[in-house]
């Protein structure tokens, strides 16, 4: 494949990305943990166990 075709394909792809994902930002943004949470039927509160586990407090940052 020659360089001209490579250029046209790459330019086409990035313009399509701009048009179709420029607003929603699915591909060029931070990918967080995603999962399902369950609601406690008695209290109506969100429970973090199930498929999504929110550990919290895991940060050990700083210098």
């Amino acid at each position: 494949m020659n360089f001209r075709n490579v250029y046209w394909i790459c330019a086409g792809l990035v313009l399509l990305l701009l048009v179709f994902d420029g607003a929603a930002g699915s591909l060029l943004t931070f990918a967080p943990d995603r999962g399902k949470v369950a609601r406690d039927p008695a209290s109506g509160t969100i429970r973090s166990h199930g498929t999504f586990v929110w550990f919290g407090g895991g940060y050990q940052g700083g210098k």
């Binding site: 360089f3 999962g35 940052g61």
Partner: protein, 449 residues
């Protein structure tokens, strides 16, 4: 009455004549009819020339051994749709700065098309196909020695004294081992023009040859040679520059694509409805935070930016574990965001890193009702410390703030597109320039010489 045989549309293929060498008796096949001026026996190297009667007369006896060439004598191959036969092989070489650069020239013949030259450079493995010029080039008055032929300009590439080192087969001129000619090569890749000037007893002779690059694999396939052709090294003098093949189209495309990028970027920016969904400051670190909020338009994906700031923050850190739960689907996203700021003096030089503000951008967040849960954490090392106002001291944060913005403008998409649209043609130009620099490195005009 016997029916007449049907008339033939074409005459029979020309038959090659076979004679014996007057010196060694080896068989010699002749193909070039009346154009032949000199025959060199492929077996012993003796020179023969045609007499008026058509018979070959021994001109010079030799007893050299046959040497194999890259392509054999009498091999047939189809190049550019025409079948050619190798009827003569001539090895030549030139010496530049004490280094010999040999090449092999194959005289191709087709009874309907005449003669062509197939040239193989032993030093770099590249091939060219040449034909006699039907005219003479015009010398242009330019700083770089340039000639023009049929609207194409050829730049002078190199000058060398070419010496014949080995010959075999038929030739259309009187060739001898040791013949010397001054050769000047001009290039306009993939085309080239070569001039050769030689002096003999009949005076000076000037020959022009128009050449064209030909791929080694094409030659090998055309002449049905086994295995692979000799490996090519470096850039051939007439090798086409792949980076400049569609240069004009690429730069024109760039202008069109840039205009398209401008319109599309503007359209995407105009379609956004950027709004601050949540903005709370001076929040305490003591308890987790929980808020219910509406993000975007229900069911439609949006990009959000979550900003976390801490105050005061001096050689300290703050962090938040955040979870956003879509109340309709119970799908959750979890992420962490950090704010940290450090500074000091090291070896007499001051330095700093980080910021009192951290941000995370999330894409593809489906619009709807959300529950925001946030667990703040902080550096507590200086809480209650009396020396917090000393220079370079640590100041732990006492409060934090959060801001959540929906439909944020993600400039990275526009920037990426712009980089590709403008950057690739520039990259191609750079590579084309490097390619040409490597080509001219082998010329009389080598960069830096």
């Amino acid at each position: 009455m016997t029916p007449e045989a049907p008339k033939k549309l074409f005459r029979e293929e020309a038959q090659a004549e076979s004679v014996k060498c007057a010196s060694c008796g080896g068989p010699i096949a002749l193909h070039s009819f009346g154009a032949m001026q000199r025959v060199i026996c492929p077996h012993c190297g003796s020179a023969l020339e045609p007499t008026h009667s058509g018979a070959l007369a021994l001109l010079e006896t030799a007893s050299r051994k046959h040497q194999p060439s890259v392509l054999p004598l009498h091999a047939r191959g189809t190049l550019e749709g025409i079948e050619w036969e190798i009827i003569g092989i001539c090895w030549r070489r030139c010496v530049v700065d004490g280094i010999a650069y040999p090449w092999q020239e194959f005289l191709l013949f087709n009874p309907y098309r005449g003669f062509r030259w197939l040239i193989h450079s032993n030093s770099d493995g590249h091939w060219t196909l040449g034909a006699n010029l039907d005219g003479a080039p015009e010398i242009l008055d330019t700083s770089h020695h340039t000639v023009r032929f049929k609207d194409r300009r050829y730049r002078h590439f190199q000058r060398a004294n070419a010496v014949v080192t080995y010959v075999e087969g038929e030739f259309t001129w009187e060739v001898h081992v040791g013949d010397t000619a001054e050769a000047n090569d001009f290039v306009a890749p993939p085309h080239g023009l070569s001039t050769e000037q030689s002096s003999g007893p009949d005076g000076a002779e000037l020959n022009f040859t128009l050449q064209q690059h030909i791929e080694a694999s094409t030659v090998w396939k055309a002449f049905a040679q086994p295995g692979k052709p000799p490996r090519t090294r470096g850039i051939g003098a007439l090798q086409p520059n792949p980076w400049r093949r569609h240069r004009r189209q690429i730069w024109l495309s760039m202008l069109v694509l840039f205009g398209l990028w401008w319109v599309l970027s503007d359209h995407v920016a105009a379609s956004l409805h950027t709004r601050t969904v949540l903005d709370e400051q001076n929040l305490g670190f003591d308890e987790p935070l929980s808020r219910t909020l509406t993000i975007g338009r229900t069911g439609e994906p949006t990009a959000i930016e979550f900003i976390f700031s801490a105050d005061p923050l001096d050689n300290a850190w703050a962090y938040a574990d955040v979870m956003l739960v879509n109340l309709a689907t119970e799908e959750a996203v979890g992420f962490g965001v950090e704010a940290s700021y450090y500074h000091g003096v090291d070896g007499g030089e001051s330095w700093s890193e980080g910021s009192s503000r951290g941000a995370v951008t999330l894409g593809n967040v489906i619009g709807g009702e959300y529950l925001l849960q946030l667990q703040p954490q902080r550096d507590t090392s200086s809480l209650g410390d009396a020396s917090i106002f000393a220079l370079g001291a640590t100041r732990s944060p006492t409060s934090f703030g959060i801001t959540l913005i929906e439909d944020v403008h993600l400039t990275r998409y526009s920037v990426l597109a712009l980089l590709v649209i403008l950057g690739l043609p520039m990259f191609g130009s750079l590579m084309g320039w490097i390619f040409e620099r490597r080509r001219w490195k082998n010329s009389d005009y080598a960069p830096g010489s």
